[in-house]
């Protein structure tokens, strides 16, 4: 069970949080103008990487804020947590 560093509250137990899947999937600005395929991509297609993954989490039993988590899916190490709207961190190759 993880310890997650909520950008607003600090380190808390995973039981206080909920994961909401992949982060940085922006809702299209112009849904009516895009093709079924593009809309389908937004709705259904997700990465499933072995390694660094970007996820959305909420601190439900805390501040109720949404934020992003950069996590390694192999080691479960949380590399970084950051607020919504902040730029996606670069994956280092080390």
């Amino acid at each position: 069970m993880f310890i997650i560093n909520c950008p607003y509250c600090g380190e808390r137990d995973q039981t206080e949080f909920t994961c909401h899947g992949e982060a940085h999937i922006a809702r299209p600005d112009n849904p009516s103008e895009i093709s079924d395929e593009e809309w389908g991509k937004y709705l259904f297609f997700r990465e499933n990487p072995k390694g660094t993954h970007f996820e959305r989490w909420t601190h439900d039993h805390g501040c109720r804020r949404w934020f992003n988590v950069m996590r390694d899916t192999v080691t479960d190490q949380i590399i970084k947590t950051y607020k919504m709207g902040e730029a996606k961190p670069v994956i280092s190759n080390e």
Partner: protein
Amino acid sequence: MSNQNRTIYGGKVNREKPINFVFNGKSYIGYQGDTLASALLANDVHLIGRSFKYHRARGILTAGSEEPNAIVQLGLGARTEPNIRATEVELYEGLEASSQNCWPSVNFDIGAMNNFLSRIFPAGFYYKTFKWPPSMWLFYEHFIRKAAGLGQSPTAKNPDRYEQKFYYTDITIVGGGISGLLAALGAGRSGCKVLLIDENPELGGYLLDYNFSINEKDGKKWLKKIIDELNGLANVTILKRTTAMGYYDYNYLTALEKVTNHHVEFSSTLPRERYWRIRSKKVILAQGAFERPLVFADNDRPGIMMASAGQKYLSRYGVLPGKSVVLFTNNDHAYLIAFEFVEKGAKVTVVDTRDLLNARISEKCKSLNITVFKSYSVIKTYGDKKVNRIEIQQVDKNQNQLTGEVENIHTDCVLMSGGWNPAVQLFSQSRGKLKYDLKINTFVPDKIIENQKIIGSNNGQFNLQENLNESFEAGIAAANELNFNSVEKVNWTGKEEIEFTHSDVEPYMLGKKKVTKGSKHFIDFQNDVTAADIFLAQREGYISVEHTKRYTTTGMGTDQGKTSNVNALALMSHIHNKPVDEIGHTTFRPPYAPQTIGAIAGRSVDKLFDPERKTSMHEWHVENKAVFEDVGQWKRPYYFPQNKEDIHQAVKRECLAVRNSLGILDASTLGKIDLQGPDAAKFLNMIYTNAWSKLEIGSCRYGLMCNEHGMIFDDGVTSRLGENHYHMTTTTGGAARVMSWLEEFLQTEWLDMKVFCTSVTEQWAVLSISGPNSREFLKDLTNIDLSKENFPFMKFREGEVCGVKARVFRISFTGELSYEVNVPARYGRYVWEKFMEHGKKYNITPYGTETMHVLRAEKGFIIVGQDTDGSVTPSDMNMDWIVSKKKEDFLGKRSFTRPDTVRHDRKKFVGLLVNDKKTILPEGSHIVEKALKQPPMKMLGHVTSSYYSPTLGYPIALAMLKDGFSKMGEQVVVPLMNGKIIEATVTDTIFYDKEGKRNNE
């Protein structure tokens, strides 16, 4: 004779304090400090139970939590527990235990027949025999479960209380033996917060059972000094009788503390067990090691036990398990035990698999009259319910086989020592990687993943001297790494008569010899897995270690193979002629030892399992005999029976009261969200399918919410209270979901929108009054102008009701003239009672959710989650009228034009009227194309809501029907479970007041 195997002196039992206990119906006496196992051995009881598959006689193999054989049914009635290790049970007055897996008794067990039929019960027997035909498995299973299985579960409710404790600490140390104690001392002296966990009632581990000296002083005195110092440190917490069960990510450990299990009286103030959930910055594993059995024919007879267990029974409990003892060993260290047994009056013979023996040991054996058979192996044992004779034979190392004459030794106790396996279970749970150490022939920790240290014999280090200093320094280092001050190192010198060295253990495996036919070489005692089973699994292609495990069930008992796993792997290595490292090992998973479900549940049982939410009028409902139903966590009145009414009579009366005069519903559970901010209207436009920009202050509007797939997921009425202020209502069950949904989009997509959402569900009590008399009724109780002109349908007004500030919404879920009166929750019951009193002249009738459902169904109003199921669009529900054509965008809109959502043959929302005018179709019934004698039948849809309508006098139903809108007036058939076939006519969904005049009155 009682306690005939007890030594006259020695051990830590209190011979002045006898304890009475019962085993298999017979009374015995043990002493304070005994375990059930030691007390039974003291009373010369060796036959404890019958094995799982072959029902073989089994005794006591070990003296700890790794015990595979001596598992008993403990306690009686509601407190009875199966599969309890007798080696761990502290004796208490009046303890009652019995053997498992035997009938009619452990001495005469009919199932023991399996032993003679074992040729037909090889590994995979059940898989092979009961596989076909598949439909018969349920039939077979019934009998197999009866024949197999260990103890009995209690059938009554658990009367005990279990607690949970959440704990945060700097360092957790698992294991209170020499390594754990010294690590705790090193860390404790530096001032950091230390938690030391040990599963035994007494700290000291190995040191309690062996003679040794530290700094030239008696080791046991030294041990006491160390424990005293630890007890005096305020920053060190020591948990005894506590087993670390699980090791999860980020140094999260769970541990089970036995609080009153060993007490005579069950405490009313203390819990039975306490489940610890521990988070620590650092973990030090110091769990020690398990001695490994040796594999030979019939190595499972009562009287055959681990050498270290024999030592423990002798030194800690003052029990001599046999008078004529054979020590079968492959290492030097076990000779210590031979010496100890001779000193306590036993005759000892040693069978050693090795040919070279340390001169000092040889001499001592000679002086103590111990016969040593070098390069010999035990090849078979005899004895019905206890070992009485063994056969030994010389081992030819070069030929890799047994040679020479078979010799017989008469004995009443065989102690075996095959080396040691570090207890790597928790280490492996923490994803630590293991490697095979050829020097001591076992798996040892290799790569550490967590912020963790592993020390002492747990790390494959068995030398006392080295463990003393390394463990203490590990404690200091751990504290240092957490930025605590360094403390001075201490140089300890530890001495044992025979030091444990690394070249000590000879790799001894049965694989060197052929499996003797007709006898069983047990690898896994608890699951009755023999060497022959492992051979068979390899022959049949179950070569992967995971396959071998599952096919043979090695390591799958309640002991999780603590004594068997390494031997199984070594045997596989021999069969495949590959290093053990390449064979690998199976994954260790929590829990480390069996644990009660009660402890995991803790206090989350009964009423505390899930919170109950009650409205402020709840007690009135209780007093007025409401029958309740659960809606989410809410308790809602289902109906209010009067006199001896059943549900049908009560609902009929309630429905008619609403339609004809006045009904009142507690609608407080509806989700309520307060939205404020300059972008609130813009936000609502995106959330709901219809348009919100033009909603005037003081007006209400019904809205549908869809997810991005275009599927309906909630509905409700939202009212505009002020310029930038809205009051949203949601379904009772969907309140939290909708709140999260709103927050998700505000926080992740539209960060620039200025809107605040606040849940106010519990701040308001809602009294929904409904019926043609509701205006007349309410008029006298409020200062709000209720006239049709000034307060029309779908409007909202503020004022006072019964002298209480109120928000009144003129909305209707019944189709009648209705007002939803919202007052601050604390006034809920007050206003409710005023309403009941004042409403007498209108025969005001409280109604519950069932009546609410009937009334809304008569009007064709949907219930999200009942008529919809997450796969229907507004169009499917014939609700295109609420989907804005003008709005550029809203959540779900784009999906309305996906090829799948525009299909013509989608299921559509229709009404159904049964032709016989009396059958109430069961909800969930299928509408089929053609009714056949039995399924499969081609399905066209299903009934979502179905009731008898008291207003109309006949049943009505709502359904989802393929291409339903073009089937109006057509006939459909609905086959019922009882074989009847019901015919119905497809109609629209509004059964009553189609023009909607009544709520506009």
